[in-house]
């Protein structure tokens, strides 16, 4: 396969997630999973993507105002870029540590905010890149090789 065909985007789709919308939380990751099943992506890749996108979606619902999920599928990888508007992450290295969380009691009571979100994403993707500006928002880019 030439480099050009490898990079060719076969499918691109945008999804919106609203912060604080716990009722619909998980719908976007479900939609992405449905697409992946329909286009015949390997089970193992679907499994990892489903977990990573769900964690990312919950991060938005718990901590951000809103976010756009951009899914791009090329012949050899899935790339999901999440840009949120929100408080941002002060110390990304710290946030990547298992058990570290800034969740409020209310969120913890709902069973979230155990500090496993970002570490769990990292565990399930092949490449993770996070940049953030405090007070503005966070950009998460995850790549899963198919």
């Amino acid at each position: 396969m030439t480099e050009q065909t490898q990079n060719k985007t076969l499918l691109e789709q945008d999804f919106t997630v609203e912060g604080g919308d716990f009722i619909h939380a998980g719908e976007v990751s479900s939609k992405i999973k449905t697409i992946l099943k329909e286009i015949g992506i390997k089970q193992e890749v679907i499994r990892r993507t489903a977990i990573a996108t769900y964690e990312a979606e919950m991060n938005v619902v718990c901590y951000a105002d809103r976010a756009k999920f951009h899914l791009a599928i090329t012949p050899d990888q899935l790339k999901i870029v999440i840009k949120d508007e929100g408080q941002g992450v002060k110390d990304i290295d710290l946030a990547m540590q298992e058990g570290y969380s800034t969740a409020t009691d209310a969120i913890r009571e709902m069973g979230f905010g155990a500090g496993m979100g970002l570490p769990n994403i990292k565990k399930n993707v092949d490449n993770l890149d996070i940049t953030s500006v405090v007070g503005e928002g966070t950009r998460v880019e995850m790549v899963i090789l198919t």
Binding site: L10, L11, G26, S29, S30, K33, I35, K37, E38, I39, G40, I41, Q43, I46, R47, A50, I51, T53, Y54, E55, I73, P75, N120, T146
Partner: protein
Amino acid sequence: MSEYYHAIEVDSEKCSGSMHCMRVCPTEAIRIREGKALILEDRCIDCGDCIRVCPKRAIRSITGAYEDLSKYKYTIAIPSPSLYGQYGMSITPNQILNGLKGLAFNEAYDIGKACEVYTTVLKEYLHNYSDSKPLISTLCPSIVRLIQIKFPAFMSSLLSLEAPRGIAGSDKINKAKELGIDPKEVGAIYITPCPAKMMAVNQPLCKSDPNLDGALAISDIYGLLFSSIGKQKSMEELHVSSGLGIGMAIPGGFITDLEVENAMAVDGVKNVMQVLDDLEHGKINNIKYLELWACPNGCVGGPLAVENPYLAKIKVTKLIQSLGKEKKINDEEVNRLREYLSCDVELPAYPLKPLGRDTVDAIKKLKERESIVESLPKIDCGACGAPTCRAFAADVIQERAEILDCVFKLKDKVVESIQYAQSWARRTPLSSRKQGKDKN
């Protein structure tokens, strides 16, 4: 046997194409073609939701006929535990078993015995189970089929134990020995609340060689049995088991018997799909045992059960209380029957086919489908014979339907045709045409 055996069929004489079935089917397995319901084999999980809603009773289960019992030299009725909830509060399992024996059966099996053994073994199994993924119950064959087609990743989580009905079926070998006849001449017939168990008779979870020979619908023998109950001159003691495990007739009914922490019971296909979806996203954690039922209210809510499922639930609950949960089957018998429980899940995953032959082709088809969906009214009216606009669009790209099968698209086409015809109607003959005008 075909890859997909189904125990549900449409009686096209009775079917009026009224779409009730198509609208409730949880896996979108029904289309209406030429005024009749058509079941898509690759999507149907035999749950029987369609049977419940059909106003013409045109969808039936392919369960056996009572008359077929004469094929065997010796017949054993194996009741679903849900049968115990079908008759009045004062009717005991022993009366029901005697009633069954009073019909054309030579024997009525004490299913509670198999439930006790199953519960005992499952309890041990769960005690030793330490995987982080929940173990998924395989008592409901529709759930197994749902996982085969829509959630193949969970095939490895399926509990590999033969169900109590299977234990009872295998036990016929001993009866044949005792009688000195070929086991094939002994008919082990399950009395079933649902078509799914009939499907499982033909495509069992564990063995390619079925241990049950057939199934009779509770609804088909309800009246006969009703008349037979209490009519025996002398009652035999056919029911000797306890209430341990009988609770499997209702959702979560025997979870406490398993003494397992963090077990969850879910009923209704749509609820089950939601839970499996959540499970795929890692949203559900720390659950050790997941009991899933296709029917709302579990087996007592089966489409071939007769009693109001809520009343049947009370009946079963009271029955368990009165029977108690102390195991009545002796260890020797448990060990004898235990061997029939061992099971290697032999069923393969049958995942729904992707939209195209490879990823590139499938994405192309997905885009085509979505662009068709965009052009449709998206009100899921069903007039095209598909349950949703999206399902219709998928049928179009798979050449199972044509775009003009959508009445709205057809209307657009008619308007377009009329406008085209009008453009011709405006054309005037050459003799009366003014110069430079109405040339068309």
